[in-house]
C-alpha cells in the first residue's frame, strides 16, 4: 500500500479549485464593479460570504478525505434518513425565499436542505446498490432505487422548488444506468423526456421522433413488449405534452414553458422571457474575448436577474467571451470525465455509484443551467455547480467530490467490504 497522498487525485482538486475561483471572479464582478454603491447592501456582501463558504467547503473537503471508507458505508443510510427528516423539518419550520420553502435557519446561517439532500440521496442509493447481492438486478430492485430518489424529490416538490426536484428525477436514469439496468429499458425511460422537449420546440419533430424511436426499438430487440412500451411512452408523451400546451395548462404556465423558444418575442420579452432576453444579450454581446473583467454593461448594470446565482454564466459569457465560456466548459469536461474515470477504477459498486452520482448531479445542473442561460431550455432555477453564489450548493457539490476522492484514495480498502 502506497502513502495515502500518492492516491489523492490532485487533478480533480485543481479543477475544483479553478472552477470555484472562476465563480469567485464572476461574483466579485457583480459586487465590486463601478456601480457597486448602487447595489443593495445585502447583495454587496455576496462575495465575502461566498469566500467564507469556500473556506468552509475546503475544510469539509479535508475532513472528508480523512474519513475512512467504512464510515461512508456505515453512515450512508443514516445520512439519507437524516436528510429526509431535514426535508420534512423544512416543510414544517422552513423559511420561504423567492417562493420556495427550502431554507432552514441555524442562527445566522441559512441552509438549503435540498442541496444537502443530493449528497444524502447519492450516498443512500450507492449503499443500496453496494449491498445488493450480485446479479440480483431485477425490476423490483430498480423500483427500490427509483423510490429512494423519488422520496426526497417529492418532498422538495412540496417545498415548491420544482427545479431542484427535477434534478432528482433526472438522476433516476443515471442511477439505474450504473446499477446495471438494461439499456433498452433505460432508453424507453429517457425517450419521453426527449419527446416532450421536441413537442415544445417543434411538434412535427416530436411525432417523427416517436415513430422513429419505436421502429428503432423494434429493429434492435424484435421484442413486441419492448416495442409497444417504446411506442406507448414516446407517443403518449407527445400527445400529453401537446394537449397540455393547448388545453390543460393555464396561459401563464404555457407562456413560462414556451417563452424559451423565442424569449425576445413581443408577448414574452417583458415578462416570461425577460430573464433569457437579458441573459442572451449578456452572453451574446461577449463575442470572442468578452468585454473585460468588470466591464460588462449587462453585468455592471445588473440587467440579468439573479446574475450571481442562477444566471452566473451570463457574467462569464459577457465579460470573458466565448473563450471564457469555452474555458469553463473544458474545466467541467475535465472534472466530470476525471471523476467518472476515478469511479470506474474503484471496481466496487459503492464507489462507482458515488462517483457516477456526483458526476450525474453535476452534469444535470450544468446542462439545465447553461441551457437555460442560452435559451435552449426553459428557465429552471438551479445553480451552476461550484460557480454560482450560494453556500449550501457549494458545500454539497464539494462534499460529493470529496467523498469520491476519499473513496478513491482508499479504493483498496473498498474491496474488503465488496462482494
Amino acid at each position: 500500500m502506497r502513502n495515502w497522498y500518492n492516491n489523492l487525485d490532485f487533478l480533480s482538486i485543481l479543477l475544483w479549485a479553478t472552477l470555484a475561483g472562476v465563480g469567485l471572479v464572476a461574483i466579485y464582478s457583480t459586487t465590486h464593479g463601478p456601480a457597486a454603491e448602487l447595489l443593495l447592501s445585502g447583495v454587496r456582501r455576496n462575495f465575502d460570504r461566498q469566500l467564507v463558504w469556500l473556506a468552509v467547503s475546503g475544510a469539509v473537503l479535508i475532513v472528508a478525505l480523512l474519513l475512512p471508507v467504512r464510515f461512508y458505508q456505515v453512515s450512508a443510510f443514516p445520512i439519507y434518513i437524516g436528510t429526509i427528516l431535514l426535508l420534512i423539518a423544512v416543510l414544517l419550520f422552513g423559511r420561504e425565499i423567492n417562493g420556495a420553502k427550502s431554507w432552514l435557519m441555524f442562527g445566522p446561517i441559512q441552509l438549503q436542505v435540498s442541496e444537502m439532500a443530493k449528497v444524502g440521496t447519492v450516498l443512500g442509493v450507492a449503499q443500496l446498490v453496494g449491498i445488493r447481492r450480485p446479479k440480483s438486478m431485477g425490476i423490483q430492485f430498480a423500483l427500490l432505487v427509483v423510490a429512494m430518489i423519488l422520496l426526497p424529490a417529492l418532498l422538495i416538490l412540496l417545498q415548491n422548488d420544482a427545479g431542484t426536484a427535477l434534478v432528482f428525477f433526472a438522476l433516476i436514469p443515471i442511477a439505474l444506468f450504473w446499477s446495471g439496468l438494461e439499456l433498452d429499458l433505460l432508453m424507453i425511460m429517457i425517450a419521453p423526456a426527449l419527446a416532450a422537449y421536441l413537442a415544445i420546440v417543434y411538434r412535427p419533430g416530436a411525432i417523427a421522433f416517436a415513430v422513429l424511436f419505436t421502429a428503432f426499438m423494434y429493429l434492435r430487440t424484435r421484442d413486441r413488449k419492448l416495442t409497444s412500451l417504446a411506442g406507448l411512452f414516446s407517443g403518449g408523451t407527445v400527445l400529453v405534452a401537446s394537449l397540455a400546451l393547448t388545453r390543460i395548462l393555464q396561459p401563464y404556465q404555457i407562456a413560462r414553458i414556451l417563452s424559451f423558444t423565442d424569449p425576445g418575442a413581443l408577448q414574452y420579452r417583458d415578462n416570461a422571457g425577460f430573464h433569457q432576453v437579458q441573459s442572451m444579450a449578456a452572453i451574446g454581446s461577449g463575442s470572442w474575448f468578452g468585454k473585460g473583467f468588470m466591464q460588462g454593461t449587462q453585468t455592471q448594470g445588473n440587467y440579468v436577474p439573479e446574475q450571481s446565482t442562477d444566471f452566473v454564466f451570463s457574467v462569464i459569457g459577457e465579460e470573458f467571451g466565448f473563450f471564457g465560456s469555452l474555458f469553463v466548459m473544458l474545466l467541467f469536461l475535465g472534472l466530470l470525465v476525471r471523476l467518472t474515470v476515478l469511479g470506474s477504477r474503484m471496481k466496487h459498486p459503492f464507489g462507482v455509484m458515488i462517483a457516477s452520482g456526483a458526476v450525474g448531479v453535476y452534469l444535470i445542473h450544468i446542462f439545465i443551467n447553461v441551457g437555460m442561460a442560452t435559451a435552449i431550455l426553459p428557465v429552471i432555477g438551479i445553480p451552476l455547480p461550484l460557480l454560482s453564489y450560494g453556500g449550501s450548493a457549494l458545500l454539497a457539490n464539494t462534499a460529493l467530490m470529496a467523498i469520491v476522492l476519499s473513496l478513491y484514495m482508499r479504493r483498496d480498502e473498498l474491496s474488503i467490504y465488496g462482494y
Binding site: M280, T297, I376
Partner: protein, 613 residues
C-alpha cells in the same frame, strides 16, 4: 467488468455530448449572432443624454442685449425604474405637493414607461442638488439642463420677438427628424419661430452606462463618443429697444399698432401690437387662467395687429390716390375739382366732405384732406388700374420678410366687385376707395412701408427685423435674404407735389404733429369701423429731406387721427432722431398717456358715421 467499461465509455460520451451541445450553442450566440446581442445590450445599458445648446441671444440695433438665456433644471422620472413609494419623498425634496408629483408621474407612465418624462421644470440649482444628493435612494430620477429665456430690456416687443413653448404633438410629428422630442421648447411666434433653425443650435449628446434601474454608473468609453452641443446663432435685430419701450408706454390703455421703419433699408425700428403681453409668462409653465385670458380676452393680446390686422387706411391713402391720378394722367398738378361739400354722385347723401373746399388742385386737396376731390379721382380711374398701382406699393400682398404672421390685406379689383355685387355695380361703387374706405384693407406694416416709399421719393423698401445673425463661437456671420428696395419709377415732379403736401399737413394744419427742430411730413386718417369709435391712423416720415424714419400708427377706437396716433408717431420719431423728448411737449405727452381706446362694443352697436379728415 467488461460491462462496466462499456458503461463508462457511454457515460463519457454522454458528458461530451451534453457539454458539446452547450458549447455549440454558446458559439452560435457569442460568435455567429453576436452583433444582434451586442445591439441589444447597447440599447439596454448605454443611455444618451441630450445636452441642450445655448439658444441664440437677441441684440437690438444699438447692440443692447434684449433676450438672453438662464440655466434651469428639469427633473425627470423614468416610470419603469421609479418606485411609487418614493413619490412623497421626491415631492418633499422638490417642495411640491404630493398630489402634483403623483399626477405628473401618472401622466409620464401613460406616455411612456421607459422614457424619462419631466416632473418639474425650472428647478433651481439648490433644489436640484438636494435631489441628486439622494440619487441612490431615488432610482429612475434624472435631470436635464434646460434653458429659460431671460428678457433684459424694458421693451417687451412681444409680437416681434415671439415666445417659445413646448412643442405640440402635431409639430412633433413633422419635426421629429430634426431631433425634437416631447417636452422640447420650440419658437411658437415671431422671430423665435422664424429663425428657430438658426438660433436653436445643435444638440449635444453624452453617453452613459446605466444600470437596470436607470441609474448612471459611469461615462461610456470615457466620453469618447460624446458630442458637444453647438450654440445657436445670436441675432442682431433692427429694433431700437428704447423707441420700442417708448411706444409701449405710450400705448398704455390703448389698442392698436405701430410699425416704424428706416426708409432707406426697410429695417424695422419699432414693431408694436397693443395690448401685448409679457413674454416672461411663457418662461414658466403657463397657468391655465393666464392662457385662457390671453386666448379669450376681447382685447386679443395674442393677435398681432401690426401685421395681421386689416383696416381701411382712411385719409392716409389720399397721397396714394393723388400719385395714382397724376401718374395715370387723369389730372395734371394744376387740374382742379370743385367741392360743394359733397360729391354730386348719389345726390350728396353718400359721398360727403367735411368742408366746402371750393375749387382746389391736388396739393391743396391732400393738405386739406378734401373727400370730394378724391371721390372724383376714383370716379375717373379704372379700379383695375387702382389695384395694380396698389400692388406695386406692396398693398394686397405679403412681403417677403421675417415676420411670419402677416395678412395680405384686401385690394379690390373688378373681379372682386363682380363677385361681391352679383346684382351689378356702378361707377359709384369704387369711389369710396378714393378716401381709403370701403372694401379695402391694409395692415399697419404695409402702411409703414408705403409711407417709407413716399419718404424715399418712390423707392419701396422691404421691412425686416433681422440685420444679421452671427455665431458666438465661430464668429460666422449670416445675412438674411432681404430683397433690395424697389424703385417704383414714379415721376419725381408728382412725387415732389405729394411730399410737399404732406409737409404742409404737419406744418400748416396741426401743431400737435410737429417735432421740435425736425421737419417731418405726415397724413392723418380717421377710419370708421364696425367696432365702435373711429380708429385713428397716422403715417409720418422724418426728417423731410433725408428721412431716417417712417412710421405708421393705428389706435383703435380713439377718434381723430391727429389727436392720438399723430402725437404718438411724432414722439417716436423725436426719440429716435434726437434721443430724447423735448420738455416743451410734456403736456402733450401727458395727454397721450391719458388717452384711452374707447370701450369695445357690447356686440350690437355699429358705427355708420362718415369718413372725415
Amino acid at each position: 467488468m467488461e460491462e462496466n467499461r462499456t458503461r463508462t465509455r457511454i457515460f463519457v460520451i454522454l458528458i461530451c455530448a451534453v457539454l458539446g451541445i452547450l458549447t455549440l450553442r454558446l458559439g452560435k450566440i457569442q460568435i455567429l449572432d453576436t452583433s444582434t446581442y451586442t445591439g441589444e445590450s447597447r440599447n439596454n445599458a448605454i443611455r444618451e443624454r441630450r445636452i441642450l445648446p445655448a439658444r441664440g441671444a437677441f441684440y437690438d440695433r444699438n447692440g443692447v442685449l434684449m433676450v438672453d438665456n438662464e440655466l434651469a433644471y428639469t427633473v425627470l422620472v423614468t416610470p419603469r425604474y421609479f418606485d411609487e413609494a418614493n413619490i412623497s419623498f421626491l415631492a418633499t425634496l422638490l417642495n411640491l405637493p404630493d398630489s402634483l408629483v403623483a399626477n405628473r408621474y401618472q401622466e409620464a407612465r401613460n406616455w411612456n414607461s421607459f422614457r424619462p418624462s419631466w416632473i418639474e421644470r425650472g428647478v433651481s440649482f439648490d433644489v436640484l442638488s438636494r435631489v441628486m444628493e439622494n440619487h441612490h435612494l431615488l432610482p429612475g430620477v434624472s435631470y436635464e439642463v434646460d434653458q429659460k429665456r431671460l428678457y433684459m430690456t424694458s421693451a417687451r416687443a412681444a409680437h416681434a420677438l415671439g415666445f417659445i413653448r413646448q412643442i405640440s404633438r402635431s409639430d412633433l410629428k413633422t419635426r421629429r427628424a430634426e431631433g425634437y422630442r416631447p417636452g422640447d421648447l420650440i419658437g411658437q411666434t415671431g422671430l423665435e419661430r422664424n429663425y428657430e433653425r438658426r438660433i436653436r443650435g445643435s444638440l449635444g449628446s453624452e453617453f452613459n452606462l446605466v444600470n437596470s434601474r436607470g441609474q448612471v454608473i459611469e461615462s461610456y468609453l470615457n466620453e469618447a463618443e460624446d458630442i458637444a452641443p453647438i450654440s445657436g446663432f445670436n441675432l442682431e435685430l433692427t429694433l431700437d429697444s428704447e423707441v420700442q419701450a417708448l411706444a409701449e408706454s405710450l400705448f398704455v390703455n390703448k389698442r392698436g399698432a405701430v410699425v416704424a421703419l428706416e426708409p432707406s433699408t426697410g429695417e424695422i425700428i419699432t414693431f408694436l401690437s397693443a395690448p401685448d403681453y409679457d413674454l416672461e409668462t411663457f418662461t414658466r409653465a403657463v397657468s391655465p387662467e393666464a392662457w385662457r385670458f390671453l386666448r379669450e380676452s376681447e382685447e386679443k393680446p395674442l393677435f398681432n395687429r401690426a401685421s395681421m390686422s386689416m383696416l381701411p387706411p382712411g385719409s392716409t391713402f389720399k397721397p396714394f390716390i393723388a400719385l395714382l391720378a397724376l401718374e395715370s394722367g387723369v389730372i395734371t398738378p394744376s387740374s382742379t375739382v370743385t367741392c360743394p361739400g359733397y360729391h354730386p354722385i348719389g345726390q350728396g347723401r353718400i359721398f360727403k366732405c367735411m368742408h366746402v373746399h371750393g375749387t382746389i388742385a391736388v396739393q391743396q386737396a391732400i393738405r386739406e384732406s378734401c373727400n370730394t376731390f378724391f371721390f372724383e379721382m376714383m370716379r375717373r380711374i379704372d379700379v383695375n388700374t387702382f389695384s395694380r398701382f396698389a400692388n406695386r406699393f406692396g398693398f394686397g400682398e405679403r412681403s417677403e420678410v421675417d415676420i411670419g404672421e402677416q395678412d395680405a390685406g384686401l385690394i379690390p379689383d373688378s373681379a372682386y366687385f363682380n363677385r361681391v355685387n352679383p346684382g351689378g355695380w356702378t361707377v359709384g361703387t369704387p369711389m369710396n376707395l378714393g378716401i381709403g374706405q370701403g372694401d379695402m384693407g391694409v395692415t399697419p406694416l404695409q402702411l409703414a412701408r408705403y409711407i417709407a416709399a413716399l419718404g424715399n421719393g418712390g423707392v419701396l423698401p422691404t421691412p425686416h427685423l433681422l440685420r444679421r445673425a452671427y455665431h458666438p463661437d465661430t464668429g460666422e456671420i449670416v445675412y438674411p435674404d432681404i430683397p433690395e428696395p424697389v424703385n417704383l419709377d414714379l415721376n419725381p415732379r408728382f412725387m415732389e407735389i405729394v411730399r410737399n403736401a404732406l409737409r404742409e399737413v404737419v406744418e400748416e394744419t396741426s401743431p400737435w404733429l410737429q417735432i421740435p427742430n425736425v421737419s417731418s411730413a405726415g397724413k392723418t386718417g380717421t377710419v370708421q369701423n364696425s367696432r365702435g369709435d373711429d380708429d385713428a391712423v397716422y403715417v409720418l416720415f422724418a426728417p423731410f429731406d433725408n428721412p431716417r424714419i417712417a412710421i405708421a400708427v393705428m389706435v383703435e377706437n380713439a377718434g381723430f387721427g391727429s389727436m392720438s396716433a399723430g402725437p404718438i408717431a411724432s414722439f417716436l420719431a423725436e426719440k429716435y432722431l434726437t434721443g430724447t423728448i423735448s420738455p416743451t411737449r410734456n403736456w402733450l405727452f401727458q395727454q397721450v398717456l391719458d388717452t384711452a381706446s374707447g370701450p369695445l362694443p357690447s356686440g350690437d352697436e355699429t358705427s355708420t358715421r362718415d369718413a372725415s379728415p
